[in-house]
Symmetry: D2
Subunit: 136 residues, 4 copies
């Protein structure tokens, strides 16, 4: 799978009283990776939403947590595209810690395209074209 690596650091308020990154933040980290993949594909979110009126809500998401992340860890989210149809896009993610090669979590998100009115719509052909090189 063609993946994009996006580096980030674990921020102080992301760490809970167990001393590890709280599980909710992984979904936000996945979104960091997805944002950068979309940008790489020439489809930055902000422009999709503001200029085209295409929203891209999450319809399903999940994560498996394998090892804890600690405060200030330098991590990477590795993002790939796992499925692409005119009505559904699925991204997959791995959060890794390059320093020791540890896989901390893996997960996915599925998205539909909807218009400003909240109605489902088909992905415009240009979006399909720009995303397809990311398909395995």
């Amino acid at each position: 799978m063609k993946v994009l690596s996006t580096p980030f650091r674990v921020r102080y308020p992301e760490v809970d009283r167990m001393g590890v990154a709280h599980h909710t933040h992984y979904l936000a980290w996945f979104e960091l990776g997805r944002t950068e993949l979309m940008r790489e594909a020439g489809l930055p979110y902000g422009i999709l939403e503001d200029e085209r009126g295409i929203l891209f809500p999450v319809v399903e998401a999940g994560a498996r947590y394998r090892r804890p992340a600690r405060y200030d860890d330098e991590l990477e989210v590795r993002t790939g595209l796992a499925a692409l149809t005119a009505v559904r896009v699925r991204f997959e993610y791995r959060v890794v810690r390059p320093a020791d090669g540890a896989l901390l979590a893996e997960g996915f998100s599925e998205h539909a395209a909807v218009g400003r009115d909240g109605r489902p719509q088909r992905l415009p052909p240009e979006m399909m074209e720009r995303l397809s090189p990311w398909m395995p």
Copy 2:
């Protein structure tokens, strides 16, 4: 000062690796109190924004942190109005723990009214009227 008490509990992800509520969340708790005071005054935010097109951004905010809040603590934010003019509203807040009467933090926020275009506007007379009973 006439104040409104809004109860809430400290949530798990709000607590950091020091075992205490992270300081950023107090501003969100102040907002809980402000939201309820506005609702009490007959000015629920959602309606102001969606039906009237009046936004109410924070122009200044601050907090003094006196004692730490712990996970699952039952707290209250006590919200009052400290200043009210046609162009500026100032709220004041105290976060207390009723169980032991401890004052955990105090703070304030100042707001201007702006339209959807981001331009400052005067508070509509009806808003002034509804808020004025909350003035000390």
Copy 3:
């Protein structure tokens, strides 16, 4: 399934630029429900962690998002126990809006028990006993 309903309101910073609650917050809402179920079962988290040294990290979690939640919506998370063994506990959740009966999302989380050293441990018999009445 025996479920516990925990009411809450959608907070201002939980709503994104699409005008709907951001998907990451549902996992935090699931945690609100789980926290209250554990409390009901006589197993408040804070005491488990602080007095018993039992941590209860999420090993897997996921959600399906069916309808958007809006700012200030009064919602409920309905939490039940779906599996319980000495090494794994699975909770299931539904987020509903009582006003119109809409199901907004459903999801799950799986947890292992670990000690302060991060090593897996078996659930103490007393915990099994307290949780078992919640099994379907």
Copy 4:
């Protein structure tokens, strides 16, 4: 004043239904800057807390919001040290958008040193020494 610039991007969930970064996140961005200044000074937080048992809680913080930040904006927090005594440290911050030179917000935070028991303690001489080159 000697300042350290720390770049970051506005993340999707940081933007609210007004389409601008929610005011609470600025305090977290200030913390990003403070974290990097401490690291530059040879005093990374994680090590202070874990190896030295010195916690550095915020005792007061505030911000003035001048212009809104938008989703995906590339920003910088510019962090400096404004006061340094054996019992109190004050940082000052400016959040700017280099693309147009706009000053979005400015603020401060004051910190005390406390031990693991929550008791105030004096800053160790080595910390004073490492931070003093950052004083104006």
